[in-house]
Every structure is written in structure tokens, then in C-alpha cells.
């Protein structure tokens, strides 16, 4: 699936991997649960490698002949997909288009057999796979297989050979949602099939959290992968291992210099990884994320070195030409030595310790920026790397003149913004924010006009934030702004919108002499189609979240506000609304 950057000897996984291999090769428990909360993807590739290695090694004279199927519980979202994937993988069957994409259908003696109908058929399918594998190996007996003799006699017809089926399920926690009915039989697969089957569930959740109820499933053999973040050298080793894989790819990429991953620089990369780790380890434990950051930062980090090197080579080339012109005049042993030096200078070399420290000091601030932008994927690595290339010939500048880290740039500058919205949409968003933040019963006091206007905003600044002594903090009222938006019905939104429009928009809209009564124009405006269209459009953008189901036509739709306080404040400022005056719990 992903190119395995991690061999069996992945640092930090040695113990677990060898435990798994030993188990699988000798007497595996029928049901193993592997738990890794930190790097499930890395663990998956380690397990995959371990199993494939055993499968290949086993056929060439190992302990037992292992056949494996590695499936993903998200990808196999129906039982049928699961059965098909497992059986095809175990039988090493590749469906081909010309044959109508048939699944593996058992032995040639029973064509058209269907094994994906239900669990029963699947059990039969597993048994058929076993028979098939035995027959296949009988037809092509291997001399080497005779080496190992002994314990397997009971289960194998072929003398001295055990056929062991291993089924690995990645992201096994999803089984509970997608196929809960399969969970129990899968854990008891060895019992049900009477075969040598091992099932390995791989998850970032503990088995206890998705095990079926009522103790229906037996307890697994637990393998807990030790936390990689606890072992710093291992993490750095893994991050550095990406260097070797990138070396081949860098030639064809336009994002990086072809020489950025030349083998000479590997020690510098490892130093760079260590710096990266020391900066990021408080926030990021996932090794893949660290590798991602390293991949994004390295092309920029190494560019000054390569620039300096190229400049040096050019300079030397120029000197050499100069020398050649003078060579006729004084040729001697010295000049030949110089030539030798120049020849060597053509090769990339590791920068001096001083330069390395300068580089690391210069780039350290930009790594924090990289974390801020890349970890939430506000930009992707390639784009970020290109946008944050250092200026050319950085190393030739004096240390004091080095430019600071470039301002954070999250990808291309976007001209479109929530502030570019039409005026009505801005009003709707502010009204929605008010409706979601203020309690409904305060509307009359906050927005009411007329006789009760004076009582408005009486409450400002008197919100009881402080707990009374002795209540243990129970009396503290957290402002709604911090608790998240409350749902509100459409009518309330329109009413608040009406108030806002009447107060802040009445002067600037086009004249309409036909509306004589005060407020009539606004009433007409808020019932126009375009206002409703704006609300629906904002709802489709999830700037207003629909709280009621969209299918119910006759019920009043309710919404929640989807913008933050800051955005609302900005919009209100654009419109000339004093947002804090209209908030019940003003900031």
C-alpha cells in the first residue's frame, strides 16, 4: 500500500516485531490484538513487513507455510468486501478484467463456488483455501520443504508442512460500526474453521473499547507497541531514514534541488531531524508528521549550502581557466596539486560545523511556522516549501544581515474572504451570531425599541462572573460565547436582522417613496427572496449550521451560527455595528 519506508528493523519496533514474528512462526495464539495509539500507520507497515517476510521466508524453508491477508476495516465496509478481499489475498488470486473480474472460486473441481454470501460460506472458503494451498504445493513439491518435520503432522496432510493462515485487519475499531455481527465470529475463527488461523486486529483503540458485549469474544493476546516518542534516537532514526528514500525521487521533482538528497549530506539531515524533533516533540508525536515537516523544510534548509557550493564551483572553474591561460608560462608540481584540489571541489561536501550551526539557528523560527501551517494542513508541504524558500546565497550574507523568518504564509493569498461577502450576507451572519450568543429572552431588552428603550443594556458589566464564597465555583456563569452557539429559529434570526438593518442600513439603501410607515421598508426587505437565499447559501457553506433536519418542511427551520467571535466582530466593524453593545455577555 504505502511504500514501506520501514523494514523489519524499524528502530523502536524491534522488540514488538520480533515477538510477532516468533509467535507467528511457532505457536501463534488464534487471536492477537495490537495496540498503538501513536503511530498506527507505521505499526501497520511494520506488521505488514513482518508477515510478508515470514510468508516469503516460510516458503523457502521456514517453520510453517504462512499465507496472509492484510485488509483494512475502513476499505472493507461490507461483509462481502471483507470476504472477497481476505480470500483473494490468501489464495494469492488476482482478479483479471478478461475473466470478468471473478473472485477466487475454490478448487477447479467446483467452479462457480460462492464464498462471499455469509459467514458460513466464508468459513467454507477458508477451508477451501487451505485445501487449495496444500494441493498447489503438492503439485510443485519443493526439495527444501522437507527440512522441517515434526509438530505439524496433526494439521497437515502434506508431511512436515503446516499451512497457517494469518489475517491482519487494520483499523479494526471500525469493525464495530460497519460489521458488528462479524466481530465475535472473527475472534473465534480458528475454532469455527478448525484450521490454523490467526487473526490480528490492529488498532489505535484498545480492544476493551470495541470488544463485543457480554464476553462473547475470547480475550486476545495483547501486543502493546511501546510509545515511540519516549525513545528519541529511534524517532530521529526513522525520520532520517526518509532521506535514503527521497534520494531517488528528488531527481525528477521540481520542488527540490536534485542534489538536496545526495548521500554526503546525510549527517546534516540527521542533525536537522534532531533539531526538528526537539522543537516539535512537545506538540507532535506522530513520526509521519515529523517526516512530513522535514520533507517540507529540508529543500529550503539545504538550499544555502547548495548555493554556496555552486558559487564555489563556478569560482574555481573561473580560476582554472585563468590558470590554464597562465599554465604555459609556469607549469609545475604546485599547479597540478591545485588542479587536484579543484577537482575535489567539484564534489559536494558536508558544510563545516560553524555553517551548520548558523543554518540551524537561522531556520529554527521557521520550523515553528511550519508546524503552525502544516500540522493543520492549512497548506500542503510542497506548496509551503516553495513559498518559504530562503533567498539565494544566504550563506554569503553576514550573520547580522540574514533576513528574519519570512512572514507566515499559508499558501497563496486568497483575495476572497468572508469580508468580500455581499452586504446582506454580512448582516445575516452578524444577526446569526447575536441570535446564537444572546439568550432568547433578552432580545426584547437588547433590541426592543420604543418605551422600554431605556432599560436596555442595563446589565452591561454586571455579569456575575465571580463565584460566591463557599459555593465551590458552581455559581460561575460561563458566557455563551465560550460555550458554543445556541440554536435559534429562523424567525428570530429575521427579527434581529430587521433591527440591524433598520438601524444600520436604512440610510444607505436606495430610496423607496412607496414605504411611508417607519420600518415598513425594512419589513419588506427582510422578507425578500434574496435574504432567504442568502441564509440558505450561508447554510450550505456551513457558516450557518442547520440544527433542524432539512427534510421537515412544515417545521420552522433552526440554525446555529458557524462563525467565531473574531469573524463576527470584523464583519460588524465593516458594517458599522457596535457588536459588544448588542451582546448580552459583552466582552
Amino acid at each position: 500500500m504505502d511504500p514501506s519506508h520501514t523494514a523489519l528493523r524499524t528502530p523502536g519496533f524491534g522488540t514488538s516485531a520480533s515477538l510477532l514474528s516468533t509467535l507467528l512462526a511457532s505457536y501463534p495464539p488464534p487471536f492477537i490484538s495490537i495496540y498503538d495509539p501513536e503511530n498506527p500507520r507505521l505499526t501497520a507497515s511494520v506488521v505488514r513487513n513482518a508477515v510478508t517476510n515470514l510468508q516469503e521466508g516460510g516458503s523457502s524453508g521456514g517453520t510453517a507455510k504462512i499465507h496472509s491477508a492484510i485488509v483494512n476495516a475502513v476499505a472493507c465496509f461490507t461483509p462481502r468486501l471483507f470476504y472477497d478481499s481476505v480470500l483473494n489475498a490468501l489464495a494469492e488470486w488476482e482478479p483479471s478484467w478478461e475473466d470478468g473480474c471473478n473472485n477466487w472460486s475454490g478448487l477447479s473441481t467446483m467452479p462457480g463456488q460462492r464464498f462471499n454470501e455469509n459467514f458460513d460460506a466464508f468459513v467454507h472458503g477458508l477451508q477451501a483455501v487451505k485445501t487449495y494451498l496444500e494441493q498447489a504445493s503438492n503439485e510443485t513439491p519443493k526439495a527444501a520443504s522437507g527440512k522441517w518435520k515434526g509438530k505439524a503432522k496433526a494439521t497437515s496432510t502434506n508431511e512436515g508442512e503446516v499451512y497457517r493462515l494469518v489475517i491482519v485487519i487494520e483499523r479494526a475499531e471500525r469493525l464495530k460500526q460497519s460489521m458488528p455481527e462479524l466481530l465475535v465470529p472473527l475472534t473465534r475463527l480458528a475454532e469455527l474453521t478448525q484450521l490454523d488461523v490467526t487473526i490480528i486486529l490492529l488498532s489505535d483503540l484498545r480492544w476493551e473499547e470495541f470488544r463485543p458485549p457480554l464476553g462473547a469474544a475470547p480475550d486476545p493476546f495483547y501486543i502493546d507497541i511501546p510509545l515511540l516518542s519516549k525513545s528519541v534516537p529511534d524517532t530521529i532514526d526513522i525520520v532520517t531514514s526518509a532521506f535514503d528514500h527521497a534520494a531517488g525521487a528528488s531527481v525528477s521533482s521540481s520542488f527540490t534541488d536534485p542534489e538536496a538528497y545526495s548521500a554526503v549530506l546525510r549527517p546534516l539531515y540527521s542533525q536537522f531531524s534532531a533539531t526538528l524533533f526537539s522543537i516539535c516533540s512537545p506538540f507532535i508525536h506522530n513520526v509521519h508528521e515529523l517526516m512530513y515537516l522535514a520533507a517540507a523544510r529540508w529543500p529550503g534548509f539545504i538550499k544555502p549550502v547548495l548555493d554556496a557550493h555552486r558559487a564555489y564551483v563556478q569560482e574555481m572553474e573561473r580560476l582554472r581557466v585563468d590558470r590554464q591561460s597562465h599554465e604555459a608560462e609556469d607549469s609545475g608540481a604546485e599547479s597540478r596539486d591545485d588542479m587536484q584540489d579543484h577537482y575535489e571541489a567539484g564534489m559536494l561536501y558536508l558544510p563545516s560545523e560553524d555553517t551548520r550551526i548558523r543554518l540551524i539557528r537561522h531556520f529554527t523560527p521557521s520550523i515553528t511556522i511550519a508546524v503552525e501551517n502544516l500540522y493543520p494542513r492549512l497548506a500542503h508541504a510542497a506548496e509551503w516549501s516553495r513559498a518559504n524558500m530562503p533567498p539565494a546565497d544566504l550563506l554569503t550574507l553576514a550573520p547580522g544581515h540574514m533576513p528574519g523568518p519570512s512572514p507566515p504564509s499559508a499558501g497563496p493569498v486568497n483575495a476572497r474572504d468572508v469580508r468580500a461577502f455581499p452586504r446582506t450576507s454580512k448582516f445575516v451572519l452578524v444577526a446569526a451570531f447575536l441570535a446564537s450568543t444572546n439568550p432568547a429572552k433578552t432580545d426584547l431588552r437588547m433590541f426592543g425599541r420604543g418605551a422600554s428603550e431605556r432599560t436596555r443594556r442595563v446589565r452591561r458589566g454586571v455579569s456575575p462572573r465571580k463565584a460566591k464564597a463557599g459555593t465551590g465555583g458552581a455559581g460561575i456563569k460561563i458566557p455563551q460565547r465560550l460555550l458554543g452557539p445556541l440554536p435559534f429559529p429562523l424567525e428570530r434570526l429575521l427579527a434581529i436582522l430587521g433591527v440591524l438593518l433598520e438601524e444600520h442600513d436604512a440610510e444607505v439603501r436606495p430610496q423607496a417613496p412607496e414605504f411611508a410607515i417607519p420600518g415598513e421598508y425594512t419589513d419588506m426587505e427582510i422578507s425578500r427572496v434574496s435574504v432567504h437565499a442568502a441564509i440558505m447559501e450561508l447554510a450550505s457553506m456551513r457558516l450557518l449550521t442547520r440544527a433542524s433536519s432539512a427534510d421537515k418542511v412544515d417545521a420552522t427551520p433552526t440554525f446555529k451560527c458557524g462563525i467565531s467571535y473574531d469573524v463576527a466582530l470584523q464583519l460588524a466593524r465593516d458594517l458599522g455595528i457596535l457588536l459588544n453593545d448588542l451582546l448580552w455577555d459583552s466582552v
Binding site: D84, S385, S527, V567
Partner: protein, 754 residues
């Protein structure tokens, strides 16, 4: 009616449909603009529609080509991203990322996506693969570099459905694999299994990019898409999938650069490589289109927009919605509205079909009106023949076009001068987006002399550097005019600029000193003054009011307001108003019908005013639904249906009494006069007809003197009328049923203006 009576009598029927009174409510057959309209030709409507079609197509093509140009770069970007999705990747990444291109564009999205699809189709065909020569020879297979699959939210309600759409969208396309193989539904790979796609892809024999479009991406269920993306990411790069997401929402803040980031968890985002592209949108695109369609020196639209229409478009696009589709509908409405006027048949006065038609006899009336307008006074005596009139119209047309061209050139010159002389910062936030657009209405109204003077003064004070920018820009503008006519007309302006440029001394090297106006050398001062004077004169010459031209209403929408109710109606207040004051709606409708009747058939004004004394009709005079609605408005949050019925019944009793009274009066009057019956008008309301029916139905008795059977019949009638009115309100959505309280309904609207 008898069948209804029978049904009403039948105790086994639980539900009876009472159709509305057809006899009452049948409207006269009306074509949109009846041919008897006095100053129109008999086939004027059809002919105008032809002209309209011609003019509108011209305008629409222009708009579409502008939009296409605006979108072309994005489409090219998408195509580039797609084709390089798997070849140009950053080395050192821990795992391959699924390329996702998020294209966000609010308005005119359909045209953008159409363009992207075209662009992807145009990606060069993959070179023929020699691994499978026998197949290529046997049958010509399609070998595109990019294969597309379009998914819509409705196809992807569940993960199975979505995966099925993903897989079959590719696999079931014809022409890629030579022999379509029949798959068995049970023993083959399931059609929602991505392995099937994998098998198909490897059978292709080459490796095209598989592009999946997710249209209306916001409407997809995030939980489903998340899993689908995960599954797809497991199969790259063996299966070169690329997703194109069609977003309609803009980024809301730097921390949420797109809808994708706002809605999907980090887990999913980490699998993707999201490139964000956003199309031009908002007021800027509206400005661009209006400018290039109606104020481009090289393009002459058949119809010129007037200031009121422009004002409306500016207001609507900044206030409500600035989208290409919306703008196109607005322009089309303006065109349609314009061609209502009969005189617009002469939009192209030289068109032969129109000329020959106007020579017909029945066009005489039309021509008379036209002649009166050309000669300036209705009572003109000279009798021009048709050809002469048409010649006059052509002359007027040419004059109008010349002036319109002048206005366009002047406006563009102003833009250039403004941008150079005043250093207007074009990217100073949202307001600048429509600055040019907002300048247009004053230009058309001819209220610009102040600005022109100001510009002239500013130009006189320009430094030599600025002049060196301004003059070449102006020269380039005049030089690059494509239209031959305009070039010829503006020959003098060009010559003037060339001569000014020739006289202008070279700028000095130190710009700091030269920027101070006091230190300008006298030669520069002189040139700047000459330039400023020429500019003022030129602009004043060219900015004229288009509506001062003869017959300008043929080609100019002038001060005609935009029919805004059509684009932005307010349905609920309209329905409520109609329910509260049905008489006014009926009257307005009647007046509309009258307006389209020929003068001869029209009733005299006194007829219309016959009983229009402006008084509010009494409650009993109103239709049943209105009576019920009036009572409903007075009720509280919940309405007790029985009380409602009782109050309704009271009004009906009153109505019955009044009708009888009137009928008796009329009878006695008829007996007295025994003359001709009163003239029937189209304004006869329902109520009166009902009165007549009742007259004939029932005997003239004293109101209280009903016998028992009649009383029963009456109560049944009241009940039936109540039910019908109630259901009408129900259908219109004014009441909600409560599931809890018996005999009560809830009001759905509260703030009803009275």
C-alpha cells in the same frame, strides 16, 4: 353542481371536493401584449421578439466570452495540477498523498466547471502503448490522458453508493477497454469494490489519470466522503486518482482556508494534498462584465444601459448577490423589458424585413406616431413617406451610436487619467471593486463636469515622470482600439497625444527632486497645462447625455426602472397583502387588462370610476378566505377553530342579510324603472355574483322567516365555506396543526400589518 350536492348529502362520503367557482374566476384570455395596442403593429410582438433575440444573443455572447477569458487561467491551472499530480511530488514525504484540487467559485460556477471539463478533455492523448499492439490494431480504443467521473451529492448518500459511483463511473464508460466483459453479480468483484477499478485500470494497458469531480461538495455527507477518501488514498499511486472538489464557499478566515478545512478532521486532511484555486467572483466580476460589455470602446451593444438600471445592478450586486448567473438574468430582464416598447422594433432600422413590413398599410398608424416624434410636434403638417421616416430613424441611430461611442471613449480615458494622475489604489479593499461601476450612472446622467474640471487641474500639475506614464498609456489606449470607426473618430485625439509626447522632455534622473511640482522646468509646465486643457475639452466634448438624442429610447434604457420585483420578490408580504385587501389586487388586475384593450373597446373613464368611491369594503363584502384571515389576524398564538367558525358564521349571516336587502332594493328599483339593466363591467366582484345566485335560489322572504330545512341547508353551506377557506389558508401555509390540543391550530405568522 348537482354532483356536489349529491355528494354533500351522501352520509357515506367523508370528504367532498368543492371546486372553486369557475364561472366567477375565469380570466379573459390575454396574450402578453395584445395586438390592438394602439401604437403597435399587428405582429409587432413577434417581430420585436425576433429583434430582441438578435440583440440579446449578441450581448450574451459577449458576456460569455468575457467570463470564459476570466476562467480560462483557472481551468488551465486545474488541468496542469491534474496532469502533474503524480509526476511532480515533493520527495521525502512519509506516504503518498491523494491529490485534491479544491476549486471554489461562487458565481457562474457552471461555466467554470464546463471550462475545466473542456480543458481536461483537451489534454493530449497518451501515446499509444505498445504493450498490447493486437488490441490497438483490432479496434481503435480511446486513449485520453485523463478520464473523468462526475459525482453529485444525490449519488453519494451512503458509502456503498458513493464507492459504487466512483467505481462504475469509470468502469462503465465505453470505449476504453476493447471487450466489455460480463461480470457475474455474485462471484465477481462487487461493483462498489475499488479493486474492480484497479483491475479495470490495469486492463487499460496504460495509466491515465482518473479524475473524480465532486460537484456541490458542500452538500456531500462528510462522514461518507471521509471514508471514501481514505479508501482511495490506500490505492494510490497504483491507481492515479485525482479529486476535483467544486466548492461554492469562500475561505472564512486564515485558519480555515476552505470548507474542507472547516469540516473535515485532521486525520482526513493529512491524507490529502489539497491545492486551492479560487475563481474570480463578487462585485469585481460584475464590474468587469459590465465594463467590457457596455463600456468597452471596441464593442457596441445594441442596447445601452441607462443610469437607473446600472444603479440597480450595482446595488444588487453589492447588497445581495454578485454572481455571473445573476447578472446575466438581470441583463436579460433589462433587454426583455426594453423590447416591450413597440418602437424598439426599429433597433436595427436598416433591417430589410422591418422596412418592408412598415410599408404595409396597417403600419400607417405606427408610422404616424413615429413621424410625429421625429418632427417634434404631433400636429406637424408635412407628410413624410415611409422611406423618408426610416431614413430619419437611421440618421438618428447613427447619431446615437456616435455619441455612445464618444461616451465610452471618454469614460475609458477618464479611467486611465484617474489611475495615473490620482494614483488611485485599486486594491484598497472591497469598496474599490465597484468604484468604476459606481462612476457610471453620473457619467450617463452627464453630471460629471466637476470631476472633469478636477481631472484637468490634476493633470496640469503632473510631474514629468507622471506625464511620461500618462501619455504613453493614453496613446496605447487610442492605438490599440480595434474598431476602425472609433479609430477614425478619435484620430485627432491620437495626433494630439503624439504631438504632446514629442514635446515632452526626458525625465531627470533623480525622481525625488522632480516630484516636487515647483521645480518643474517651464517646458514641462507648459506641456502639462496643454495636456490638462486638451483633456478637459476632450472629456467635455465627449460626455453627453444619451437621452438627449432623437429617438434615444429605441437604443437606450434611459431612466426606465429595473423590474426589481421579478428578480427579488417578497412573496409572503405580497400574499398577506392580497389576502387582506383582495379588492385592490382585483382592481389592479382589472386595470392591467383594461390597459391592454384597444381604445375603442375600452370603457370610458366614468365607467371605471363608477362605484370606485375609495371606501374600504365592508367585511361582509370580502371573499370567504379574507373574512377568515381577518379573524385569524385578530387571534392569539393559538386559534380555537370552533370560535373561529362562530365568528365566521356571524359575518356570513350579515352578508346574507345585506345581500337580500340589496336584492330587494334592486328589485323594487327595477320594478319602478323597468328599464335597461345596468351595464356590466369587468369589475364585478364575486360577491355581487353570489348575490345574484342567491337571489334566484331563494325566495324573497323576511330573513328571519326561514323554515327548518332551509336553516339546516344554510348551516351546511356555512360549514362547507368555512372548511374551504380554512383549507386555503392551510395550503398557503398560514396555520400549523398542533398535535396536542384538540380543535386548535397555531398561527404561522404573527406580524401582520393592518
Amino acid at each position: 353542481m348537482s354532483s356536489i350536492d349529491r355528494d354533500l348529502e351522501d352520509p357515506t362520503k367523508t370528504c367532498v371536493y368543492i371546486p372553486p367557482h369557475h364561472t366567477d374566476e375565469r380570466a379573459p384570455e390575454v396574450t402578453p401584449y395584445p395586438y390592438h395596442q394602439w401604437r403597435d403593429l399587428s405582429d409587432g410582438y413577434e417581430r420585436r421578439m425576433e429583434v430582441y433575440k438578435l440583440s440579446w444573443t449578441k450581448c450574451l455572447n459577449r458576456v460569455q466570452s468575457i467570463v470564459r477569458n476570466l476562467h480560462a487561467s483557472i481551468a488551465a491551472n486545474v488541468a496542469h495540477e491534474v496532469t502533474h499530480a503524480y509526476t511532480d511530488i515533493l520527495p521525502g514525504l512519509p506516504y503518498p498523498e491523494l491529490p485534491v484540487i479544491a476549486v471554489s467559485s461562487e458565481g457562474g460556477s457552471s461555466s467554470l466547471y464546463g471550462l475545466i471539463v473542456q480543458e481536461l478533455d483537451r489534454v493530449p492523448i497518451a501515446c499509444p502503448d505498445f504493450r498490447r499492439p493486437h488490441r490497438s490494431m483490432s479496434k481503435q480504443l480511446k486513449r485520453p490522458q485523463v478520464i473523468q467521473n462526475h459525482l453529485y451529492p444525490a449519488d453519494c448518500l451512503t458509502l456503498t453508493a458513493m464507492m459504487k459511483a466512483v467505481v462504475t463511473g469509470f468502469v462503465d464508460q465505453d470505449g476504453f477497454v476493447s471487450e466489455p466483459v460480463k461480470r457475474k453479480p455474485t462471484t465477481s468483484l462487487a461493483n462498489y469494490d475499488i479493486n474492480l477499478l484497479q483491475t479495470w485500470h490495469s486492463a487499460l494497458g496504460y495509466s491515465p489519470h482518473l479524475v473524480i469531480f465532486l460537484h456541490d461538495f458542500e452538500q456531500f455527507d462528510p462522514a461518507v466522503v471521509q471514508d471514501a477518501l481514505y479508501i482511495c488514498s490506500l490505492h494510490i499511486p497504483r491507481l492515479p486518482l485525482v479529486f476535483v472538489l467544486a466548492l461554492s464557499s469562500p475561505p472564512t478566515s486564515p485558519s480555515r482556508p476552505s470548507y474542507l478545512h472547516a469540516t473535515y478532521p485532521r486525520d482526513t486532511l493529512a491524507l490529502l494534498r489539497v491545492s486551492m484555486l479560487s475563481g474570480p467572483s463578487g462585485p469585481a466580476i460584475v464590474q468587469e462584465i459590465i465594463m467590457k460589455t457596455f463600456f468597452d470602446a471596441d464593442f457596441e451593444p445594441d442596447i445601452m444601459l441607462g443610469p437607473r438600471v446600472l444603479n440597480f445592478i450595482v446595488d444588487f450586486s453589492t447588497r445581495h448577490c454578485a454572481s455571473v448567473d445573476g447578472l446575466i438574468s438581470m441583463l436579460q430582464l433589462v433587454y426583455m423589458r426594453h423590447f416591450v416598447d413597440p418602437i424598439t422594433i426599429l433597433t436595427h432600422p436598416k433591417a430589410s424585413s422591418v422596412c418592408s413590413r412598415l410599408h404595409d398599410n396597417d403600419a400607417r398608424q405606427f408610422m404616424d406616431v413615429l413621424q410625429a416624434r421625429i418632427l417634434g410636434s404631433p400636429a406637424a403638417e408635412d407628410n413624410l413617406d415611409t422611406d423618408a421616416i426610416l431614413r430619419e430613424v437611421s440618421v438618428a441611430h447613427d447619431a446615437f451610436r456616435k455619441k455612445a461611442r464618444g461616451v465610452r471613449v471618454a469614460f475609458n480615458v477618464m479611467r486611465i487619467v484617474k489611475s495615473v494622475a490620482l494614483e488611485r489604489n485599486t486594491d484598497a479593499g472591497g469598496q474599490a471593486d465597484t468604484a468604476d461601476l459606481e462612476m457610471l450612472p453620473p457619467v450617463l446622467r452627464g453630471r460629471l463636469s466637476k470631476d472633469i474640471q478636477y481631472l484637468g487641474k490634476a493633470t496640469k500639475k503632473l510631474s514629468v515622470q507622471k506625464l511620461h506614464r500618462l501619455l504613453p498609456e493614453l496613446h496605447a489606449f487610442f492605438h490599440n482600439l480595434e474598431s476602425v470607426v472609433v479609430r477614425r473618430e478619435e484620430e485627432f485625439a491620437r495626433a494630439k497625444i503624439v504631438s504632446l509626447m514629442a514635446q515632452l522632455p526626458e525625465p531627470e534622473d533623480n525622481p525625488e527632486v522632480a516630484d516636487v511640482p515647483l521645480e518643474r522646468p517651464p517646458a514641462v509646465v507648459q506641456i502639462a497645462a496643454a495636456c490638462g486643457e486638451w483633456l478637459t475639452e476632450f472629456l467635455e466634448d465627449h460626455s453627453v447625455r444619451l437621452d438627449e438624442c432623437v429617438l434615444s429610447d429605441i437604443w437606450y434604457t434611459g431612466n426606465t426602472p429595473f423590474p426589481s420585483e421579478l428578480i427579488n420578490p417578497a412573496p409572503r408580504p405580497t400574499v398577506v397583502a392580497a389576502l387582506l385587501h383582495p379588492d385592490e389586487v382585483v382592481r389592479a388586475h382589472a386595470e392591467l387588462l383594461q390597459a391592454h384593450k384597444p381604445a375603442a373597446d375600452r370603457p370610458s373613464q366614468s365607467d371605471l370610476d363608477e362605484d370606485d368611491d375609495g371606501r374600504e369594503p365592508e367585511l361582509w363584502e370580502l371573499p370567504d378566505t379574507t373574512i377568515l384571515f381577518r379573524r385569524f389576524v385578530e387571534a392569539g398564538r393559538m386559534v380555537n377553530v370552533y370560535d373561529w367558525f362562530e365568528s365566521f358564521k356571524v359575518v356570513l349571516e350579515d352578508q346574507r342579510r345585506q345581500l337580500r336587502h340589496q336584492a330587494r332594493q334592486r328589485e323594487s328599483a327595477a320594478r319602478k324603472a323597468s328599464s335597461a339593466p345596468p351595464a356590466k363591467t369587468a369589475r364585478r366582484s364575486k360577491v355581487k355574483k353570489r348575490a345574484e345566485e342567491m337571489d334566484t335560489d331563494e325566495d324573497v322572504e323576511s330573513p328571519e322567516g326561514l323554515d327548518e330545512e332551509e336553516m339546516e341547508q344554510w348551516s351546511v353551506e356555512v360549514q362547507a365555506r368555512f372548511m374551504r377557506a380554512l383549507h386555503e389558508l392551510d395550503f398557503t401555509g398560514f396555520i400549523k396543526h398542533t398535535g396536542r390540543k384538540a380543535d386548535h391550530v397555531i398561527r404561522a405568522i404573527y406580524d401582520v400589518p393592518d
